[in-house]
Amino acid sequence: MRGVAARSMPTALLYLALIAVHAGEVHAGEDDDAAALTLTGASAPPAAAGSAAFFAETAYTEAQPRAGGSADAQRLSLEGSDDVRFAPQWRFVFADRLDLDWSGSWAGSQQVNTLKQAYLSWQPAAELLWDAGRVNVRQGVGYGFNPTDFFRAGALRSVESLDPNSLRDERLGTVMVRAETLWTNGALTALYAPRLARGPDNAPLSPDLGATNAAGRWLISLTQRLAGGFSPQWLLFGTDGGAAQAGVNATTLLGGATVAFLEASAGRSPSLYAEALDLPGAEALRARASAGFTYSARNKLSITLEYEYDGAAPGRNGWDALRAGDPENYGRYREFALAQQELTTRQSVFAFAAWQDLGLRHLDWTAFVRVDLVDHSRLPWTELRYHWSHIDAAIRWQDYVGGATTDFGAASTRQTWQAVFDYYLAL
């Protein structure tokens, strides 16, 4: 027993030491809590900001052209927006963006103005709204490709980044009349956008009505919350002289950390290639879809994986033939696909990650990669961003990887670096 007692003594001392350490931790925790409770919070809550906002961005880009050497470019973007209620039932919504791009000297700068929104809104009852003017209508639950976002076609005047979020921020609205009626857990929207011009106008300050209103278009959408909180959105879209396209958007929660989404549209239409080259192509039933999920970890990392399908874009055989064919037609097709914000080929995968406070408060990391599943070219993009109260500083990198005529390998630049400074002001 003496032996047992002798062996137990160091163990007992160890327990005592552990208890002391644990007690120390408890006391340290209590001390931390006590220190936290001496903090008083903001001396006075900041006055609630109004609705007007101003945003300025300056960017310096260093690119590596495929031809060799290097090229630099600079950009200044200015954006203002407001949402003014000037009578109890009336509002005016406005948003405009001006991009100034130059390389070397300011003298050769190019200006592009994008009138994002300018419309009147009338709400005669809580459940009824009418809007008239240039409205930025955006549909869809996908991240990288939105087949139900029917008003995306032709809406980009200036492409400053291939980040899908930037593409959404920088687009034109469409001139339309829109009516929306709502009820508990449901809404019905109908809109008509008339034809106002023949085609796009590249004049720097043009409202460019032809980019978005070159044909009459209409849309009806219906949302109804069903059992279990499932709220799909159904859409029907049409253009003057074209067949109607049906669409659906649906999301669901998988546990507490994952959202799954599905976005799809289908209808009779010519192929993208026939549309691009104004060829008399036969219309056929074609479907477009994007589906995936977003997982959010507790450490503020969110990851999205999305599969994208565009039935109007060429598959492997069509794409190979297009690449091997007339270079002019190939170029026209690519330009058209970009302007319409369609996939260049039939299938791709899009992976997106965002990490807030990456090892350092206010340091955010964003990255995506788009992989063309038809020709296996890819576009990786990443951004590291630090933000202060009104200013952000960011550095971006992107790389076009692939053979000379592949989806991403055909870009004139191979790799670009960009330094960006943003300024935000709320008025």
Partner: protein
């Protein structure tokens, strides 16, 4: 032989240090059985009481009609202020489920101005006016720095959690005033809530929440909250500040201050994704 047998199956470590307790084993077993029987007996009645206590505490944190308030979040790290943001919150109880639906407008900082977050049951949507994009997010996805989305929305804990009375304790609230409290253990009744488990201390005299600890499914402490600065708002004495201390880094503190309480009725039809582009406070 004896030593080789006395090994913990779970850890493989010798159990010899427990040998001196062997004579007390019958007594220990007896006490454990008694405690278990007593706990079971209390459980049936205690669980109901605990749920009622929690509901009464919810009623102190949350007005019983549709309301609005301003929530100013101030973040500190190592005692230095690092961030501040302001949210305008509109909350309305769902008559069917009893849970609150929330519409939240980001008023500051400038970068986030006019962004919106909607919570209607499992539906959590984030709307950015710059892109007109509405994105569905999960309860775990964070938009507000340290504070989880579930921290800023109005939540009836009694609706989302099963409460069990875990005893009576004297604890300090956020004003460092000591209260004699019921300690309740809350376990999630659904898998889409922000926290898997909560410990909350509620004043046994007036049902005011004094302190709470929030845990992940793994058992890890995520944050500690202290309630303080009780003031009369919308006819009831309510906590107008919550101090949140991060569970991993206790030097990371967020103070949520609630001001501008007002009765505000938001139509039911506005609490859906389709209305977000039209919302104007």
């Amino acid at each position: 032989m004896f030593e080789r047998r006395m090994v913990s199956a779970a850890t493989g470590r010798p159990l010899l240090p427990l040998l001196p307790l062997l004579p007390l084993l019958p007594l220990l077993i007896c006490c454990t059985v008694c405690a278990s029987v007593c706990a079971d007996t209390e459980d049936a009645g205690g669980a109901r009481d605990a749920q009622q206590i929690l509901a009464e505490s919810d009623a102190i944190r949350n007005p019983n009609h549709s309301f609005g308030l301003t929530n100013t979040l101030t973040e500190y790290h190592n005692g230095h202020q690092t961030d501040t943001s302001t949210l305008q919150i509109y909350a309305k109880a769902d008559t069917a489920s009893g849970q609150y639906r929330n519409l939240i407008r980001f008023a500051a900082p400038a970068r986030d101005q006019n962004k919106l977050m909607l919570k209607n049951g499992n539906d959590l949507w984030f709307y950015d006016p710059a892109s007109q994009a509405s994105v569905r997010i999960s309860p775990q996805q964070r938009l507000l720095g340290q504070a989880a989305n579930g921290d800023v929305v109005t939540v009836n804990l009694a609706h989302d959690y099963r409460a069990q009375l875990a005893g009576e304790e004297d604890v300090e609230d956020g004003d460092r005033v000591q209260h004699h409290c019921h300690k309740l253990n809350l376990t999630a009744a659904a898998d889409d809530v922000t926290y898997a488990r909560i410990e909350i201390w509620i004043d046994s005299g007036n049902q005011r929440p004094a302190k709470a600890k929030f845990y992940a499914e793994s058992g890890q402490l995520l944050k500690t909250a202290y309630y303080r600065r009780y003031q009369r708002e919308l006819n009831v004495e309510r906590p107008t500040e919550t101090v949140i201390i991060d569970g991993l880094d206790r030097q990371w503190v967020t103070i949520m201050r609630y001001t501008d309480y007002a009765w505000r009725d938001v139509p039911d039809s506005w609490l859906q994704r389709d209305y977000l582009p039209h919302f104007k406070p």
